[in-house]
Symmetry: C4
């Protein structure tokens, strides 16, 4: 028994969804779950195959990315998670994958345009693609800087991390988050679907137009905010 | 026991086919089953995952979309179903999905051209894509108006809902219907296949020609009408 | 017991491979198995879902497509099978599917160019796409004429049905055959793979060149003919 | 019992991963495992379906491709494996597949450009596509020459087989290798993923730029070499 059992279980459960949703090949992805009261998060150990994972193997680290408990090395992306948890106070879980279509958009260094209501059901803006990082950031504390690349992208564009729970890091791959690790995984799967739909849309019609504002607003507010009427 | 058990069971069975046929991610879809004698239909509850569904959880609503029985909130698309049932007298089931290829065509705001006999086996015209809705319809009673957008599209084009059992709503996604909920689900899977084949066809040959009339007529009449000779 | 039990079983086994290999949606395909001594073939009954098939349900017809045994109606494509068996003496099984990529090439009315050794492992020429049929053939005995459209395509191009065991019918879909029904099914899966590879090749490099002759010859003869050294 | 049991088992295990990872159709692939001390390798028998394989059926051949033990004929690609083992001293396993996207790039005769960190996590250069072979090599000892085509490609480009564990053979398909057969299979799956991501990237943005050097170096060194910090 550990006082971190809850977040270990929740990080484990969320990690195990990634292969089930076909969002990862081998070990190319990780999920973390934060405990705000104790100031720590549980994250997947680095390079451990999903079918060998157990809740006990989750690594506990603090918000400066120091290991607090666990005998395995944490995900090599741990510092990115730490920076996001530290600066974005209300998120409870973070996911990183190299899912196929979202990663292709990241490699193309393009925002994913909002083409339909599947997109607008989840967010009202194009999915931002943060610029590839500068060489000094890459040569510096790379994963730490990756967190800031994401945060700065949101600042510069005036986006709120509570409204937009997903980002592409240019040349790299997507990160998603949410109030819980399960929601962050849900966002990863939604992002992959949106990315594939946008890919197909442009290959059907080269000059496809972004969704108009009234439809964006309508679909988003059906599902979110005071007047929503989706779900129980 | 309820006097609506039959349509609850049939709506449940049809809903459960959607994930099996890979037509939905998470809860992005719904099926309803109508009982014309009792003037009501059974529909999926909103936002409930497919693996938590039971026949008992189906919601019974009348053709004005008022809940008649059930403790859960019905699908947020319920008013669209209600309008279609009310105006189109002979349909027994309706399906809405955000299936990948059909949705991409809807996002591209294009009819799906009839390129081959797989398409002509099911209908003799291009799959219509209704125009994106006007802002006043979107800001008004949106799902109710979505039903009229579909009905008006069929009226303007002189199409019969009995001949063409599928439509794309521009920027949104497909709706299909049929004499039974099972047939409506079948149509959803057929539409997704036709949509993918047309996508591939255009990407093989940019200037692909629509199927010629004699072949359209032949393949359709092999399967439908007085001289059909397909099936038992 | 029936004197046709062997071909019923072999047609049944081959039909059941189609959904397993993801070559069919619902009932969009059929396989037949011929018994040359008895002058009949066993074929899938029309419109019967694969999971309701049994060997007993296979329909026995003669090479003029007359039903000899069986209470169900045979596949609507039966006459095409009959013509091919009658004119092509050494084939033992025939398959018709609407598999995704092969059908897209048929809809684009294009031969599949030979771009690589996966193709050359099986045949040395482009996969022929027979022209869409003339209106009088379509309005006449359509499925009977479909068989002649295939045979005439091979005659005009000087192809041997023993060297090339697959064809696309323009605007329609593929037919494949082989010495056994199992080999015909194998060819259907190979054709679908070749079709997808050629699709991707052209979308990577618009001006891709056909495979050169020496490599075509080498790969084909590795697997076929007196000097082959593939397999046991 | 045989003194080759270890490599038979390891070749068997690795071969069985290919269908599981969806890298092969039917028998279109093979894996071998070398025993450097005994100067032999175990390889898949030619043309035997994966579900009929057993460790005992693996064929033992020496580095000149002579069969040493086993009643079945070895893979028709055996000589290519033999040449690679003979010249590249530190590899322990080799894989050949016709996986879909990697083969499409080979058919297009293009190197796979390095577009993202998924690629850089594994190697720092474009995946080389060896030129299609000259006619005299094809008409000569083809599979033997295929080995030299790969080795010469690496020589001409100044690549090390220890740094780059994968290659496309123009017009043919990929070969991968590694210190163990399991690593070689891992590389096959990684290559297929990289190939698909690059395909999608170019279809999203025609003029996509190669990944910049600093990011290539960073991601590669996160996972490899003295300063790596990925994995346990």
């Amino acid at each position: 028994m550990s006082k971190y059992d809850d977040i270990k279980q929740s990080a484990y459960d969320a990690n195990m969804q990634l292969p089930k949703l076909r969002l990862v090949l081998f070990t190319f992805g990780n999920v973390s779950a934060v405990d705000r009261n104790q100031g720590v998060f549980a994250i997947k150990p680095s390079g451990v195959p999903y079918d060998e994972l157990t809740p006990e193997k989750m690594v506990i680290v603090d918000l400066d990315a120091n290991v607090v408990e666990g005998s395995l090395r944490p995900s090599s992306d741990t510092k990115t998670h730490a920076v996001l948890y530290k600066h974005w106070q209300t998120i409870g879980g973070i996911v990183h994958t190299h899912s196929m279509y979202a990663t292709a958009w990241a490699q193309a260094q393009r925002d994913i345009p909002i083409y339909g209501t599947t997109h607008a059901d989840h967010t009202t803006v194009d999915i931002p693609c943060a610029a590839p990082m500068h060489d000094d950031m890459i040569k510096g504390d790379y994963e730490h800087e990756t967190g800031f690349q994401i945060i700065n992208c949101f600042k510069e564009r005036g986006l709120s991390y509570e409204d937009v729970e997903m980002v592409l890091v240019g040349n790299h791959a997507p990160f998603t988050w949410g109030k819980t690790p399960a929601k962050a995984v849900y966002n990863s799967a939604v992002l992959e679907t949106i990315a594939q739909m946008a890919y197909l849309t442009e290959n059907i019609k080269a000059d496809a137009l972004r969704l108009k504002d009234s439809l964006i607003k309508k679909h988003f507010e059906r599902k979110h905010g005071p007047d929503s009427y989706y779900g129980q």
